[in-house]
Amino acid sequence: MLVFAASDKGGTGRSVTSSNVAYRRALAGDDVCYLDFDFGSPTAAAVFDVPGASRGVAAGGLHSHLQGRHTEPHRIDVWAESEHDELRYRPTGSGRLVLLPGDRDGGEFAIGKNTVRRCVNLFLHLESEFDVVVVDLSAGRSYAVDMVLEATAQPELQAVLSRWLVFHRWTHQHVIAAHGLVFGERGIVAGGVERGHDKGALRDSIRFVRAAVPDPESSLWSHVPLAQSEWMRTCDRDLTQLAAELDLGYARLLGKIPLEPVLQWREQLITDEDVLASKVAGMATRQALEELAAALVDDEAWERQ
């Protein structure tokens, strides 16, 4: 399965959340591969705490591979190379967790026929080896989004299951922007159709993930004045209604990630140690990530129209 992680804007927690989903899938026993397609800012390796690769690798990253300068992209076995205490030992029953980083100081590059061909080869190769291939895309409308839309429209990739996760924050602006990214005139659906995708099938393969969602009912807010908590509830209701109107409602929602300081500030994988022992991360966050990781491979969650 190919999973494309997209977001309308920066700051949605797309990379850190999709990395956590990849990690949770691996813990569940899947062989997982994570591709850093955020070409303008290749920093996914930092989330996995891999030394010497936090800004991409010196040679053989995805930038140079897709541009034809290198035949085989560099792979990082997270279980073997991470410096994170909890990640250094592969838990029993878990699957592989492999990271394909970008090039250090790599930048966005123009996409040609050959870039797309290499991208198709890469996806086919990884899909035949891994259960879940997570592709973390640059924010907004980017060359990376164009390239994967073009690649997945190729006949060779028709048999491969593709799913899209679109991350957005739970604000008025972000909801509208996420709607634009997916359904807008130059959005993912329109761009996909232009490249030969079936409109209905592509729409049905897209789900939204709400990130950094404050929960008005949370104990965090239990001491705020009544007027403020009323106001929060109203905002939440209004946003829910706006989302429904823009087709970002329940039917297309795959998960909600609470506002979580660890995700916001540390941008790292949330391990059980963080939740249970040091308690720096909230149980609700862990729960949400686990549910999202489960929903990702739950066909029923993707059949809702």
Partner: protein
Amino acid sequence: MTEQIFRETTAEPRTQSLPLAHVSLELGHLYMEDFEDGPDRLREHFARVKPWADAAHQAAAVMSGGRRARVSTCFLIDDYFTQFSSPRELVPLLLGEAKAAGLEIDYLARESACAQADGVALAAAVESRLVESPTEGSDGTRPGVREVGWLSNGQRSPASDAGEAMGRVVPWTPPSEAGARRHSIFVDVELWNEDPRRTWSCPFLAAVWQLARLGLLRHRGNPVLEPRSLRPDQTLPETWSALPPLLRLNDSAAPFAAYRTTSVLPSRFLPIEHAVRVVLSQVEADATALRQVAERATAEGIQVPADIPDRAAYVFYPGP
């Protein structure tokens, strides 16, 4: 090694040897625009070709060491890029004008035959035999020629590659010709394009044409583009596709394929034939066919250049 345990996919694994003339002499190459200029254009063409054709016969006599030189003549008509007129109308006109100039056309070929003849995709086969001359630093990691559809005679300017956003500025360097003498004459040849069907470029088909005339094409060991005559009761057809890809017009002609080729063409063909040389210098020809040509040449006491492009000679007469 394991040859004995392999069964070939056909019963006839032997590569067939071809009879060869000393020289294959091309008397012209007809495109629609030439035809549209009327019979006068053809008449003028053959009048200009005639003295060079005579010279080619004399040169062949020198090459054959005093024995009777075997020279076959051929003519190529485009039916690949545009189809015009019909064999029934054009062929008698063509032969008449050649004859009036004192020339005889032994073989008539259709350009589309260089792409596909008798169900065999010749151009695709030749393309699969291209082995790009590597630039220094080619360690096997770069994509081959087939993936881009272009073939050059050296190293492209790196400025032509799209760079990365905010990437390091790569200083411009000029393209360079492999094995250049002091200065480069860099050529980049488009082999085909796809819009969406693949169309082979004129120089690439012309390179296939040269290989056919040099007797170096085979299909799984069998000869391709074999000349056929019309039966006495057959008339020239109305459509080009109904015409044999390579038509023998003279029953007593020397063999179509030859040790060397000579082409007499108007000077506008010069860039095309330069491109043909670029292609021919990077084709890995059928090893058995090459060996058979070399063995025949040795038996006849004839020198044949080792490099394929050096087997082709040209006369470019002035004019369009």
